[in-house]
Symmetry: D2
Subunit: 365 residues, 4 copies
Amino acid sequence: MSGNTFGTIFRITTWGESHGRAVGVVVDGCPAGLPLLVDDIQKELDRRRPGQSRVSTERKEEDRVEILSGTFEGQATGTPISMLVWNRDANSSAYDALRDRPRPGHADYTYQMKYGLRDHRGGGRASARETVGRVAAGAIAKKLLLKEGIEVVGYVTELGGVKADISSSDLALLRERAESNPVRCPDLVAVEKMLERLASARQEGDSLGGMAEIVAAGVPAGLGEPVFDNLDADLAKALMSLGAVKAVEIGAGRKCASMLGSEGNDPLTVQDGKIGFKSNNAGGILGGISTGAPIVCRIAVKPTPSISRIQQTVDLSTGEAAEISIKGRHDPTIPPRIVPVAEAMVAVVLADHLLRSRANRLEFV
Amino acid sequence: MSGNTFGTIFRITTWGESHGRAVGVVVDGCPAGLPLLVDDIQKELDRRRPGQSRVSTERKEEDRVEILSGTFEGQATGTPISMLVWNRDANSSAYDALRDRPRPGHADYTYQMKYGLRDHRGGGRASARETVGRVAAGAIAKKLLLKEGIEVVGYVTELGGVKADISSSDLALLRERAESNPVRCPDLVAVEKMLERLASARQEGDSLGGMAEIVAAGVPAGLGEPVFDNLDADLAKALMSLGAVKAVEIGAGRKCASMLGSEGNDPLTVQDGKIGFKSNNAGGILGGISTGAPIVCRIAVKPTPSISRIQQTVDLSTGEAAEISIKGRHDPTIPPRIVPVAEAMVAVVLADHLLRSRANRLEFV
Amino acid sequence: MSGNTFGTIFRITTWGESHGRAVGVVVDGCPAGLPLLVDDIQKELDRRRPGQSRVSTERKEEDRVEILSGTFEGQATGTPISMLVWNRDANSSAYDALRDRPRPGHADYTYQMKYGLRDHRGGGRASARETVGRVAAGAIAKKLLLKEGIEVVGYVTELGGVKADISSSDLALLRERAESNPVRCPDLVAVEKMLERLASARQEGDSLGGMAEIVAAGVPAGLGEPVFDNLDADLAKALMSLGAVKAVEIGAGRKCASMLGSEGNDPLTVQDGKIGFKSNNAGGILGGISTGAPIVCRIAVKPTPSISRIQQTVDLSTGEAAEISIKGRHDPTIPPRIVPVAEAMVAVVLADHLLRSRANRLEFV
Amino acid sequence: MSGNTFGTIFRITTWGESHGRAVGVVVDGCPAGLPLLVDDIQKELDRRRPGQSRVSTERKEEDRVEILSGTFEGQATGTPISMLVWNRDANSSAYDALRDRPRPGHADYTYQMKYGLRDHRGGGRASARETVGRVAAGAIAKKLLLKEGIEVVGYVTELGGVKADISSSDLALLRERAESNPVRCPDLVAVEKMLERLASARQEGDSLGGMAEIVAAGVPAGLGEPVFDNLDADLAKALMSLGAVKAVEIGAGRKCASMLGSEGNDPLTVQDGKIGFKSNNAGGILGGISTGAPIVCRIAVKPTPSISRIQQTVDLSTGEAAEISIKGRHDPTIPPRIVPVAEAMVAVVLADHLLRSRANRLEFV
């Protein structure tokens, strides 16, 4: 197995189950000297915390992070940073009925097939609660990136079929607007429609899918390690590793399929002696290496699989067809809460490649 | 650096530049005893070989593969399998003009920024010629998968805006039809339109983008290593590592963004005592682990960046704006030739996860 | 960096500093279904615990391990097993004087040079306390190995120049005797002399070096992955990664340098239809792969660098020569307490290679 | 499997069998811009080439290396460097008799047990011929290290029980003397006795073991990645991965077992404002990190297992006891020829850690 570690130089290992004692992460490879306090981590965890609004699960978790190692007198020491969050409000009884009945759209069936047994409570390891560790690690990555002038911003661009109009490229503004509303969408007109759709879906015991975009600005040209550890390849892996993500796009993404070469190619330009690009269909990556333009990723997020409507499944204990109606407390849609998680994953990839890029210079002045 | 190795147990390392002496691959981790002959590799290389038809580059390469190690008396020995293909018909003179003028949409600029120097001839390492090694490795992976009843089939589903109608799920038929025409599309009506668009684009010195789908049938439930080495995450990385790919979808992919949970979830069913799914929006993967249903991946492929139309770029030697018209010999569209490469990458991922899944059983009967 | 993870399939990541809040480990890749209780871990930690006898440090730590994830109803689930031990009796004041004066024979100077800062309290990350995580992980590895009939036993063979007579090859007996005395040496006559030397060294504010042997019985032929991940290579790395180890031997080890080929080669034999070896100079490994004979490793352990005798060092704050007399609580010799740690490292390597060996079979019955 | 790749940033993958078509290596992670010509590689290969003197095998191989990728106009491009050497003088007929009779002290039996089949000719993959790839890779590593003022020198310190007197620490002199004689020992008095022992062993159809020392001077303080990828741990793995090595020592090595702490600790000193050490029992490594003092490694090399004296083995086809007398062409002792190989492995480890150390700086000026 051993699939719970991600990254090469900046490397994270998450652990924990939804209803186990705690969830956490070990971050290895953070350069010594990075200023790092609990608050740096906590503020990102607060963004993904459940129970924040009417569009997220009602599970109440304070999600107070503890740093157990790897810092000294407010700085990273270069040794592994172990962080954990205790699980407090786990209510496992709601899951008893699901022990033998895999929920459609969930990992229940596949975990059972792979491991032969599983902690079924709250989805166990496959729960979105696992992403606490990712967000905590991402907070450190973001801090490291910020020192280099790199910023990662995410927001929802589509929800329940409602498409947002994202004409601005002012990341600070996009972030501010996105964080001002419960669906994390910077188009405030679209937000209203999204909330309506959400209310209506919830009423019918159903859930909505959507899309989110994550942009990284300030990334220098030259990050990425062809031909397999391409920057886009690692971003795709990082984002697709989120359970609800079913598509990853870079730059023009899906649209490039219907473009002509003369439309798709971003012409190079010179302005004030600095090389740039007239457009950014490449999404800031060519040949797996960053171009210096903003990195633009987009993810398609499936509707929350946990819905209260009756669904067909199988009873594993009898091998016979069965029905299921999922109780528990669930987000009616995932994109708003996946934003900080996706940002974290993008930040981890960029931090890793930033450090990797330093290892391959001949001259080290 | 060290980004040229892919996989964990079944692990491939490619090397070589477009106009260097040869291109090749080392495959480590192929189980001993697998019957393996040069023909097994050659037949896949023949599928990606340039100069096959009017929709591919005119570069003439026989691409005869040589196996230099790792087999004995027609079987893999479990030691590294080194394979190479000599570069014969490289014509570097066409690239002299490009040494200082990065081609838009190409990796010229990013390689130069990353490495400070580059072999500019034929795109060097960033050339699609690098994929010879991937296809050779994929041929071994396919052989291994076939022993387990797993088959990987790819075809073009869209080209230059023309969408194919892929209603069949008969993989043998899809493959047969796809391989019967130069655009590798199983919808023969669409093929005609695609060829028209291609002819017209070529006449204007332009190129077309498109989409391809890769399906793996016979994959048992239980492959994939959460939470980072998810099967879909590794497929996304493998496919996004191809230079021309800008989006990767699994199952319903992009479409799931506008679905309701009740539409997106695939209900579990029982038929003849065997558990299955009524639909396959998941594309055969839930929680990063295979469900037993066919694995379905889709890639968006950008138009060939090498076009003869005049484009704007920068002269790196002077730092001033410049124009470029790319000569050389180039495919007018990439999807038909990316199909065998994408199949190879999917096969490598599946072979790796097949072997990985064997390592985590408690009982090893 | 990222040097805090070890292993490929059975993979451990340790974290924590001597005087930080806790020390711990994440074990990834333990097969699902392995019965696992806190006691399985605790009994091994008790063997390495400080304060057990007059030959170990007086630091009092109960070292109660907590399992935070990865088990369910008494079994491993196949997900990461996170374990920690809180630091209770850390007395950092004794280390204040050492902040700027690196202790000779310690990692103080090198950590400072590498990271630019360090948690100097109790040796920080370089403290032997880090091995708590290794022993906890090793306990799981041992449990897994035992299922396959593999047992790992270690004992001291030399201390302060006193060499033990280890004529027996009865591992159960060797273990029983070794565990019966504070120096963990199975030769009870030698034990008395060792204890005398220890008493005398301690009186002079000095410390002793020694040697330990670790034997693994029941290892099947065929483990090890040439040509770099050889079983002996991985054992050498695992054991040399312990701070006090300065030499690693396999089988005849150092002695083979003065042997003739006809002496060194172990003749193959057949007994009751089973192939074996007449001698075991190879220490159970040929060409990096296990032979089926017992694996025999030996380590040379340097004397505890922390001694109360006055030593010469440098004051990093002034850059001038300085003297140092180390207070704190330290083991007067390391071998007795390194035994369970070395066993743990050997067990981790064997568990990893056991699982790796399963991944490379063509037939998976 | 996949054990044929070594290193993290500077990463080598070797391939090839003794009597296959060629042996080779792919080096990934060499920084772009390193001047690199075939001669840089060839001169190191010439040092390990067989047939050089009366103390090595009579197999005649010119071992002309070819660079197939990764360089352009005399410089490394940062892409993988693929190198190969064709096998010319393989004489497989001498091995026919060995197909079913594993040679004692060789990997024949273990490869057969692991893989179920093997290329038995000339030892196949387990042949010392595999080290051609290591030496070629090491030549690049040495070139990289030399740019940083780091030099790696090896020599024989003991052969057939004759111990050399290595009092000098003048590496240039040690190298010059070592390279001046067929046993690669810098003590010319000892050389005579070694040659006598060799002649006598050969006459009796026997072989000799010995020891070699490898020293790296100029290594800056701060290389090594605790707690597992320690510099000494990686050196131990690298050296123990050589088939004939049965012990690895760092610094005082085995001797530290009988030292007092007050003897073993190297006092820190200041001279001309520079911190150093009065002695070097640590062998230049403390806590897994380089101290700035010379890195000193020592290896015990077993006698060549291929001897013409009759030995006992087993016939795998009948399962019965059998005898064997090994013909073929073999080195009567391994240390003289292992010197360039061991140097190569040390160089690869140092190059990797040099590059790794660059990745973990917070400030990258």
